[in-house]
Structure formats: C-alpha cells, structure tokens
C-alpha cells in the first residue's frame, strides 16, 4: 500500500512508486478536462489556501482552477496585496491563514525551504508551487506525464536541459524525477549557469557548454526561461545567449528525429526558443498546460481530500 503523502514539498524524497502513482492518478483527471461539464463535488466543503509570495499568473490560476473543478473553495493570497510587504513575517502570514482553517495550502515563495518551514509549523497539507531555486515539483510531474504520454514510458531515453540550470528550480525537480527512472540527463548553457557541481545532484547527469554536443542524441529537450539580468551577478547580453544557446529549428535537427520540446513557461519567443520551434509539431507546451491541471487536481484530491474526524460505526458498505 502506497505510503500516504502528507505534503508535496519536493521530488527529491519521493520514490519511483509514489511518482508513478501520482502520474497514474492524473489520468482520470486528464480525461475529466474533456467533459463538457467540468465541476465535481469531491472536495466540496474544503478550502484550499493559495499563497503566492512570488509573481505568477499561470501556476496560480492552474491551482485555483484545479481546486475549483474539484468543488473546493479557495483563499487567495498574493504578496503585493498582503501585509508581507509591510514586513509581516512568513510565520505570521501563515498563522493568519491557519486561523482561517484551510484544509490545504499551496505555496510559492522566493526563499528555498519556505514550504518546509511552513509545513513544519502548520497543521495542514502543504503543496510546494515553487520555492526559490530549490524545487517546483508539480512542474516536474506534469513534464513527466507529458513525456510519458508521448513516449510511452519514462525509461531508456536521453534528456537535455538548456539554459540557466543553476537558478532553475524546474530543472532541479526534473533532474530528481527523471534520474529516478534512469533517464540520462545532459545540462547545457553558459558555463557560469551550469556549474560542474550540478552533476552531483543525481546519477547519470553530465554538463556541457556546447549546444551541439548537448542536442546530439537528445530524445527530449527542456528549454528553460532565461533571465539575462541577475541580482548580485554580472548580466549576460541577450544576443550572447541567442547566438550560442537559442533553440532554433536548425539546432533542433541535431537532436533525435521527433525529439520532444518542452518549456515550463512563460516563453520568450526569440530569446531561448525560436517561435517556429515553440509552435512546431515537436513542441508539447500546450499539453503541458492541460497536464498541469490534471496533476494538480490529482494532488489536491489525494492530499486535501479525506477527513479529520472518524466516521460513524457502520458495518457493510452502504455506499452501494
């Protein structure tokens, strides 16, 4: 029997079985997205608090929609609107939320470790929607679901991750997840964004700085967003990045035929990825969005569903 997940803080500590279970459980919710009527009563009466201390429209809406389609109510907290800006600590913000008694919390924060901080102090299930440069577990899960649907399985092929891997929580979560299934991973980008230490994150990870080398033999490519300005670091000119690392149709030819292209979004067409690739037949970005909803519904269903009090004592299953 699969160990029940209490929180989803990261991929690093999940087993293959737990990951496969989540992907399998997302399938009914994928099918659900095709129903004309997309509203369940499964989580009716439950409240999901969505606390985003960092800007994000897409992920926040994805979680809010997932909760709503399950019939749950949502409590929305956005950093600018909250008293966090006025210097209220994370602990106090979270205590305030807790006093409103949600049944689950989805949190995105700019500090690595913030979801763990909150999970250790609150009494409700916590889902990490992205913390600092540490992990973004739901992104890795939806990427894995997308790839598994297109390729049939998560073993035995090569992944290349392009871009600013050092500062990418999406990259880390993907590395943790796919390496558990034996995927061979190549990391590629400007040298200061792809330090050698990344190879210690998981087995079967190597880093290269030439895109030609990285794409040779790649079955799946994840192109990361690029932030050319970085706090505390010298900037890299966009033209430099484009010249050496942009994923163009020509460069895509270097990969295996039919190689999949994924991007966590939002994309900057013309910077890390050429528009033709982003919109081409190998691109999976639209499926990623749909799958994001399915994954998040499956997670909310399992983590936030269920009760606190014991049921009344009945013997046969009267649910028949």
């Amino acid at each position: 029997m699969l160990q029940r997940l209490e929180h989803l803080l990261g991929i690093e500590d999940l087993t293959r079985e737990q990951i496969s279970f989540i992907l399998d459980q997302a399938k009914p919710f994928q099918e659900f997205q095709r129903h004309p009527l997309k509203k369940l009563a499964t989580l009716r009466g439950k409240t999901v608090a969505i606390a985003f201390f960092e800007n994000s429209t897409r992920t926040r809406i994805s979680f809010a929609t997932a909760a709503a389609r399950l019939g749950a109510d949502t409590m929305n907290l956005q950093a600018e609107a909250s008293s966090l800006k006025k210097g209220e600590s994370l602990l106090d913000t979270v205590r305030t939320l807790e006093a409103m008694r949600p049944d689950g919390l989805v949190i995105r924060h700019s500090s690595s470790g913030a979801p763990e901080f909150v999970a250790n102090r609150l009494g409700v299930p916590v889902i990490n929607a992205g913390d600092g440069t540490h992990e973004h577990p739901t992104q890795a899960l939806l990427d894995a679901l997308t790839i598994r649907d297109r390729k049939g399985q998560l073993e035995g092929w090569n992944l290349t991750i392009l871009g600013d891997v050092l500062h990418s929580r999406v990259a880390r979560s993907n590395i943790h997840l796919l390496s558990k299934f034996g995927v061979r991973i190549t990391l590629c980008g400007p040298a200061m964004w792809v330090p050698r230490e990344l190879e210690t994150l998981a087995p079967n990870v190597r880093r290269v700085t030439r895109i030609e080398e990285a794409l040779d033999g790649a079955d799946v490519i994840i192109a990361l967003r690029v932030q050319t300005e970085r706090l505390h670091e010298p900037a890299l000119a966009a033209e430099e990045y484009i010249l050496r690392y942009q994923l163009t149709p020509q460069r895509l030819q270097l990969a295996r035929p039919g190689a999949l292209v994924l991007h966590p979004g939002p994309m900057i067409r013309g910077l890390e990825i050429d528009g033709a690739v982003a919109d081409g037949p190998q691109s999976c970005v639209l499926e990623q969005v749909t799958n994001g909803l399915a994954i998040r519904m499956a997670l909310l269903y399992h983590l936030v569903g269920g009760a606190a009090e014991p049921p009344p004592a009945k013997v046969p299953d009267k649910a028949q």
């Binding site: 699969l2 029940r4 459980q25 399938k27 009914p28 919710f29 994928q30 099918e31 659900f32 129903h35 004309p36 009527l37 997309k38 509203k39 369940l40 009563a41 499964t42 499956a298 269903y301 399992h302 569903g305 269920g306 009760a307 009090e309 014991p310 049921p311 004592a313 009945k314 013997v315 046969p316 299953d317 009267k318 649910a319 028949q320």
Partner: protein, 200 residues
Amino acid sequence: MGFRPCELPAVYARMMRQMRVVEKRQLLSAEEISRTLNRLAHEIVEKSGGTKDLALIGVRRRGVPLSDRLAKTVKDFSGVEIPVGTIDITLYRDDLSTVGPQPVVHSNEISFSVDDRDLVIVDDVLYTGRTIRAAMNGLFDLGRPKRIRLCVLIDRGHREMPIEATFIGNSVQTSDTEIVEVHLKEIDGDERVVLVDRVP
C-alpha cells in the same frame, strides 16, 4: 455492487478483518448467472423497441464485465454491436469524508457521446442506490442522455435513494449485516453469487 475490501476506508477494512465471513447460501450458480444475463439482454432489447440509440454503461468494477457480456449476447442474437462504456464513480461518491487515504481514482472509458443516447447503466448489486446516483451525476457531466435506465444482476433492497432498476436479474431479501458477493471469472476467478454474513 459487492464488497470490495481493497477500496474500503481503512477503518472499515480493519473492522472487517477482525470478523469472520460465514457463507449463508449461494444465490446463483455459474449456469444461473449465464441464463439470467441472457434473459436480461433480451429484455433490454425488447423493452427498448430495438437497439436504436442504445448504449450500455458498466459501473466499475463488476458492472464492466457484466455490460460486456450483455453486449456480446445482444450481438449474438441481433447482429447489432451496441456501444459499451465504463464509468468510475469515485469522484462522484458522497461518502468520501472518511478516515484514511483517498480511494484511488480511475478513468471513465466512454468513447461515444452520451447526448441523446438511450443509456442502460449496468451494475452487479443494487442496494442503497447511492452508487447509481453517483453514476448518473457522472453521466450528466458528459452530456444529456435521452433516457437512463438501470440493469442489475441482484436487487437486495434497503434503498436510501428514490432509484429503481428496470431490468433485474434476481430480487433477494437481505438483512443489514449481510453482504451479497458477486464473483465473476473476469475479476474473481470463480463464477457465482453468494450471500454472506459477518460474525464476530
């Protein structure tokens, strides 16, 4: 719908394991099941005035092999292949406020549109009616059927919803503590219907 230990909430499952199952009597043998299904298949087609717009929806789990067998029988005597779909009612249940992990969800498999269809829901046992209520909710999320009727192998009474089956294999009087166990070879290996009781 029979007793499904693997999907029961943990508390019930624990209680169940502590009690002994005593078989009281066999309700249907393998041959009787076969004859009943045959009769039901004919009844469905007769009372529908033919196979036009007809489709069967098997309720996971044991409604699925039953609906497959019914469709095969219909094909055998009429030559018409009526569509068969599967519905999983986990997301539509009203009793998910229970201790223990959430039950595992499965997908529906309905490859045809339910709009304007003459649907027959197929399940093994009709008891409180809650499963069928949930199945109807699920079907209405998919579209607007013309008509929905119900076909069950066993009707054991004790309804808690205003739900009745049009096509009934057998009606059986049962008490609250008894359980009707339907064994089908596709799922359980053997083939029979028994009435069991739980004793401490």
